[in-house]
């Protein structure tokens, strides 16, 4: 191999891992983005639902069931938990991302985190799937099979959500409520039903993201909180409220993270993302693609 190729291999490796990790970041961001886009709810507890999704994988692995099979159950469980959260806490804040709403979400997140610690303990747990420990070679680059699988699931889930929102009657009603809640009620839509189902979907997506993530990334009760910055940055860069924007934002975050880890320092891999967030808020608050103008 010539010198330039040898130099490019690590960059290609970083970009490839970044895309794969970023796909899952994208999936956990679209739920966060959906709740904001439809209901103007900033769900700081979203990461904690991802964490519960990770524990769903852990629990199924302890029963000897591959975590990948737990994905539908994880989706349903988190959707139910999300609906309960909506009824108990977020219902009164729909339409306004107020200081009170953000604080309520933080309080809820802390309670969920500590409950996880009571139930599952504070230890780090992992749940490898049938692809655990396998690697694929693509030319000079290698990737973990578990990450490829996670990326595939993330892409499928994202496309399914987009199809649901764009192609079904329910999706049209959700978009109608997101655009103008009063006009939607005037034409006879039940915003209460639409909001609760949309919020449940957002939380169910967090469950899927968690369960596929735990196949290659160990969890503990504080993981949910530590994933929130990525969701926040991916959605802001991709466009708060936009599904495909958030997914692409997630991939972008993964790439920046891996490149930083390779070129600079893995302990500081998130710092450029935080700086980017500030610049996006200041100069391009509609996100990289401007999918949403607001």
């Amino acid at each position: 191999m010539s010198g330039i190729e040898t130099a490019l291999v690590p960059v290609g490796q970083a970009l490839l891992s970044g895309v794969l990790v970023g796909g899952v970041y994208g999936l956990l961001s679209i739920g966060f983005s959906l709740a904001f886009g439809v209901m103007r709810i900033v769900n700081f507890a979203h990461g904690d639902l991802v964490m519960y999704g990770m524990y769903a994988g852990v629990v199924s692995a302890t029963f000897g069931i591959d975590p990948l099979y737990a994905i539908p159950f994880s989706f349903l469980l988190m959707a139910l938990l999300g609906a309960a959260q909506y009824q108990l806490v977020y219902r009164r804040f729909v339409g306004f991302a107020t200081l009170q709403q953000l604080l309520a979400a933080i309080g809820l997140g802390l309670v969920l985190q500590m409950l996880a610690q009571v139930v599952f303990g504070a230890d780090t747990r992992s749940a490898p799937s049938m692809f655990g420990g396998q690697y694929l070679l693509i030319g000079p680059l290698f990737v973990s099979a578990a990450q490829v699988m996670a990326f595939v699931v993330a892409v499928i889930a994202t496309i399914a959500v987009e199809a649901l929102l764009l192609g079904t009657h329910w999706g049209r009603t959700v978009r109608a409520v997101a655009d103008d809640i009063e006009a939607a009620e005037l034409v006879g839509l039940s915003s209460q039903f639409i909001n609760i189902t949309a919020f449940a979907l957002a939380c169910g997506l967090a469950g899927i993201a968690g369960t596929i993530m735990v196949t290659y990334y160990p969890t503990d009760p504080s993981k949910g909180l530590s994933l929130m910055p990525i969701a926040i940055i991916a959605t802001t860069i991709g466009g708060l409220g936009s599904i495909r924007g958030s997914f692409l934002g997630g991939i972008f975050c993964g790439m920046v993270q891996q490149l930083t880890a390779m070129l600079w320092n893995s302990a500081l891999q998130d710092v450029p993302l935080y700086v980017l967030l500030l610049f996006f808020i200041a100069y391009r608050p509609t996100g990289m693609f401007g999918f949403r103008t607001e």
Partner: protein, 312 residues
């Protein structure tokens, strides 16, 4: 005259025979968090901008004071002002980049900035002590180094902060600037239509609040003698900075005082329970529950519940 009675009781505490160091230390903690809560109350309670990153200014106040003292021997009396200046610079950059937007973006950005500082503080070990944190060189009792083996002097320092910050809050509430901040909080568009320069008002409130937090951070550092990334930039600390104002009453001058005292009683009780029952992290659970309860059922805080209908 009535407010003077509790002040006199607190001031007399160090001289009373039955008061041990534990009670004195808890009193100092309460006074420090009252001051910090009062500072956060300016930007969030009066200004309506949710800063989840006030740990940044607390941390900068602590780290700058501590590093200047350990490395260069600069006394905290001077060092803390360097911390205030650094905090003002950071707040200026943060504020001018994010405060033109709606509140959500500001809140999200403050989270990111505190996490960035967390990673930096953990990484530059030579300067900050990394994960283990930074401990002040202890010189024994020394007025010059603002150090004392006995918590007594810190009670008086804390009282000075409490009275000063209460007074600043009252002045702001009574001023045109305070009125403009509340107008922006209640309705940005209406405020702008009435001639309030919205961005400038928000930025100024944020700067005042950041400087007050960093200054109280100097006292925090001298009392605790140490700071680490988690207690400076962690979410737990960010919430401890918010609870006094939230429990007591957002946007009121009395709120953080009542709320800060209650929060310390609460945290001492839960710490006692945590060691008794071996449940680590129970304080976080209690903070989360308190946050939820206050926000959902008593958004006006204790002051709001007690003084319903009266002028605050």
């Amino acid at each position: 005259m009535r407010p003077l009675i509790p002040i006199a009781i607190v001031a007399a505490l160090p001289a009373l025979p039955f008061v041990n160091n534990y009670i004195l230390a808890a009193t100092v903690r309460a006074l420090i968090f009252i001051a910090l809560g009062q500072a956060w109350n300016i930007v969030a309670g009066i200004g309506g901008q949710l800063s989840l990153g006030h740990g940044v200014f607390l941390g900068l106040g602590c780290y700058v004071t501590g590093i200047l003292f350990n490395e260069l021997g600069v006394p905290p009396w001077i060092g803390v002002w360097a911390g205030v200046l650094v905090s003002l610079a950071v707040a200026l950059v943060m504020g001018s980049m994010t405060l033109r937007m709606r509140g959500v973006f500001f809140a999200l950005a403050t989270v990111a900035v505190s996490l960035a500082f967390d990673q930096l503080a953990r990484h530059y070990v030579d300067l900050t002590g990394g994960d283990n944190g930074l401990a002040l060189k202890f010189l024994g009792n020394s007025l010059w180094a603002m150090q004392s083996r006995w918590p007594g002097p810190f009670v008086y320092a804390g009282l000075v902060f409490m009275i000063l910050y209460y007074w600043i809050t009252r002045i702001i509430l009574a001023s045109r600037f305070g009125l403009e901040m509340r107008a922006v909080r209640d309705d940005e568009i209406a405020a702008a239509a009435a001639g309030v320069r919205v961005f400038r008002t928000k930025l100024l409130g944020f700067l005042v609040s950041a400087a007050m937090t960093a200054l109280a951070g100097g006292l925090y550092m001298q009392f605790y003698q140490a700071i680490d990334p988690e207690s400076a930039f962690g979410l737990g600390q960010a919430i401890q900075l918010q609870l006094p104002a939230l429990i007591g009453g957002l946007g009121t001058a009395w709120g953080p005082i009542i709320g800060g005292a209650l929060m310390i009683v609460l945290s001492e009780a839960t710490n006692w329970g945590a060691t008794r029952f071996g449940f680590i992290g129970v304080d976080i659970l209690v903070y989360g529950l308190v946050l939820l309860i206050v926000v959902l059922w008593a958004p006006q805080g204790i002051v709001g519940v007690l003084w319903k209908g009266r002028r605050r």
